[in-house]
């Protein structure tokens, strides 16, 4: 490490041409001519070549420049960089040439800056970028032309109001999209916006202003997290075809009803969080569902629980046993729930009923 650092630092020295006496006042005059450089700005010295930016750490192709108060992306980053961490700075804009030459970059961390603008061509050189973290910025929209190699996109806590199909189209390596805490409404999500991502496995749009489950979700989806929104109804149609969905998070919404065929549309669901909603009854279809193991229903308005709400009438229909069912903080009194309701649960600690105040 030491040797390579020295080498890097010495590189400009070795590349330097022998000193030539220039016209005596040349550089001074030039300096006078360039009086437009704002006095408080950092000096700009061209031709230093790629070195580790001052105060950053460059080690094992990781360039670590977090918490430095930078207001722009440093120039001349080592071109073999694989991870660039620029979090907690004051960068306001990503410009076209900011990442040129960074053809090996795998991960770009821009979390917690003040970015409101990303040049459409800025990410074009990043042919190998897999992870792009843009959380905690001031973006109103996601950038177009994100690299096709992208696997993970995080843009939590921005000012995004619109999700357009064209932004995601063709991002066929994408696995994770995290867009929570944005002022995003259902009307801002274009129909089928996510459909263009063939491998997409995880979507999270929590703590936003969504009023319904987005339509046209890709069938590859295994997790969908929409907690903390304003959804008032679980509409079976939007979950149709999600044969791989295993986890569905819908807690802290305003859901009053769950369509009858909802659970049938997601045959491989294992975990369903519907706590802190306004449900008046247990969603139908749980008893017939083969794989469901965790159902959160606490903090709702469920006033009665039927003996066939959770378990099938006979035995041996359910493949997986429940490992977690929560019903506390509902108007239903626990002594009103027939013990046989949970006849298909073998682990008695899996059920939480009481504590209703």
């Amino acid at each position: 490490m030491k040797v390579s650092l020295i080498f890097l630092l010495l590189l400009p020295v070795c590349l330097a041409k022998p000193f030539h006496q220039k016209g005596l006042f040349d550089f001074m005059l030039e300096d006078e001519g360039s009086a437009d450089i704002p006095a408080t700005e950092e000096p700009i010295f061209p031709g230093l070549g790629p070195v580790c930016p001052f105060r950053c750490q460059c080690h094992l192709r990781v360039v670590q420049c977090s918490d430095l108060g930078l207001d722009k992306v440093p120039k001349d980053l080592p071109s073999d960089t694989t991870l660039l961490d620029l979090q907690n700075n004051k960068i306001t804009e990503i410009k076209e040439g900011d990442f040129k030459h960074l053809k090996d970059l795998h991960a770009l961390i821009l979390v917690n800056n003040k970015i409101s603008k990303i040049s459409p061509a800025a990410f074009a050189p990043l042919k190998k970028l897999e992870r792009l973290y843009l959380s905690k910025n001031n973006l109103k929209e996601l950038p177009e032309n994100m690299p096709k190699s992208l696997q993970e996109l995080r843009a939590h806590e921005n000012e995004i109001t619109k999700l357009r199909k064209v932004v995601f189209n063709g991002l066929n390596q994408m696995i994770v999209v995290e867009l929570g805490t944005n002022p995003l409404k259902s009307s801002g999500i274009e129909n089928g916006a996510f459909q263009g991502m063939k491998k997409l496995s995880y979507i999270r749009i929590s703590d936003s202003n969504i009023t319904g489950i987005p339509r046209g979700l890709p069938p590859s989806l295994t997790e969908l997290h929409l907690d903390g929104n304003k959804i008032n109804k679980v509409d079976a149609e939007s979950l149709n075809g999600l044969a791989n969905l295993a986890k569905l998070g819908l807690s802290f919404n305003k859901i009053t009803s769950v369509d009858n065929s909802t659970l049938a549309n997601v045959p491989h669901l294992r975990e369903l969080h519907l706590n802190n909603n306004e449900l008046s009854k247990v969603p139908s279809g749980l008893a017939e569902h083969k794989y469901i193991q965790v159902v959160y229903l606490h903090n709702n308005k469920i006033s009665s629980v039927g003996t066939n709400d959770f378990c099938p009438p006979g035995y041996n229909t359910k493949k997986a046993s429940y490992s977690g069912v929560s019903l506390f903080s509902n108007p239903v009194q626990y002594w009103e729930i027939q013990p046989s309701t949970f006849r298909c649960v073998y682990e008695r600690s899996a059920i939480q009923i009481g504590n209703y105040k």
């Binding site: 010295f45 031709g47 001052f54 918490d67 991870l83 907690n88 897999e130 969080h273 600690s349 009481g354």
Partner: protein, 370 residues
């Protein structure tokens, strides 16, 4: 009878939900196998880049992963979830956990228990004020620990000896105990800026036996260059402090220093000979200080290429302030000298002052504001 029913339910309700013990133990066995199979210590990359394994959902042994987090390729991502504590069901073979931007207050004794493969842990941007002294007992391979933007008042005790990088920016650290870094033989990067740290807060001997290459203690309350930092230092960044003077002995331990950042302090004077202790210096930043002259000794620093002196009180520059007098003396050419915003008349600076620069763009003079 009624009491009995109540009691029974009480027992039910106080039990923790979730995690069917059956598949949990099965998973444990599996993880142990995996660990033996690909325990590659040499792979230091934070984000392994192999083809991801798409979860095809093996139903009876569904991977244990905290709800809302993503667990793949031994990386557990739980950022931005509003978590108030570290989730309990983290797969034991995890190499990296990202818990940034949550509301975690405490790292408890058993939070990281059994995570023996853990390589990187990001806890930055939480509300951590307390770390249990035994919290890191299992994580014997932890290399990178990110604790920036929390509420810690001191460097936690008993951090893993394996640490290579510790970032604890923007906390409330006032004290570095003598034992804080004890035995951390491979600690290379230490970032602890933006803490209310005074010189007196660094206990003597705190860095003994540690070979850190890069230390940054910017935006703190230092009034002089700390003298007991590791002698292995290649980079020292002390910008935005209250250092008023560079004394003869300040760098006596730091013979390998290559980059020195002292911008935005209150330095009035660099004592003659103090820079002779750092013969490998390549870059020195002294901008935004109160210097009255160019620091002495620059021509003798053979490798020095960048000198920032803008925004000081330097009224004039001597013809031999930067370049050696003997022609035979080898010296790297300067690639950056900044002198603007000093009360000097640039037309009085002899052109030969900069006879050892890389190109004429390497010097920035003028721009003195009235």
């Amino acid at each position: 009878m009624k009491e009995y029913v109540l009691l029974l339910f009480f027992a039910l309700c106080s039990a923790k939900p979730l995690i069917g013990p059956s598949y949990f133990t099965l998973k444990n066995i599996m993880l142990q196998d995996m660990e033996d199979a690909d325990d590659d210590d040499n792979n230091n990359s934070l984000f392994p880049t192999r083809e991801p394994i798409l979860p095809l959902i093996p139903f009876d042994i569904f991977p244990v992963c905290p709800f809302g987090c993503q667990c793949y390729m031994r990386v557990v991502h739980c950022s931005d979830l509003g978590l108030t504590s570290i989730p309990s069901n983290i797969p034991l073979d995890t190499r990296m956990i990202d818990l940034q931007n949550n509301k975690i207050k405490e790292v408890k004794e058993n939070d990281l228990k059994g995570l023996t493969s853990l390589y990187a842990l990001a806890l930055n941007n939480n509300k951590i004020f307390k770390i249990h002294p035994k919290a890191f007992q299992s994580t014997k391979k932890l290399r990178r620990l990110y604790l920036s933007h929390n509420q810690l008042t001191e460097i936690p005790d008993n951090l893993p000896k394996s640490l290579a990088e510790l970032r604890i920016h923007a906390n409330k650290v006032k004290k570095i105990h003598k034992e804080a870094f004890k035995g951390m033989k491979s600690l290379h990067v230490l970032e602890m800026s933006a803490n209310p740290l005074h010189n007196a807060g660094i206990e003597p001997g705190a860095f003994e036996g540690v070979t850190v290459y890069h230390i940054r203690i910017a935006e703190a309350k230092l009034t002089s260059v700390p003298k007991e930092l590791p002698s292995s230092l290649l980079e020292l960044h002390l910008d935005d402090n209250k250092i008023s003077m560079i004394e003869l002995e300040d760098f006596i331990r730091y013979k390998d220093l290559q980059r020195l950042g002292l911008g935005n302090n209150k330095i009035k004077d660099v004592e003659n000979g103090s820079l002779a202790n750092t013969p490998s210096l390549r870059e020195i930043h002294l901008e935004r200080n109160k210097l009255k002259k160019v620091p002495p000794g620059l021509p003798y620093l053979k490798y020095l290429q960048v000198v920032f002196l803008h925004n000081n009180n330097i009224p004039k520059v001597g013809v031999n302030d930067f370049c050696p007098t003997e022609r035979s003396m080898k010296k790297a050419l300067y690639s950056g000298i900044s002198l603007f915003n000093n009360p000097m008349k640039y037309w009085e600076v002899q052109p030969s002052t900069f006879r050892c620069i890389l190109s004429r763009n390497s010097v920035q003079l003028g721009n003195l504001r009235k």
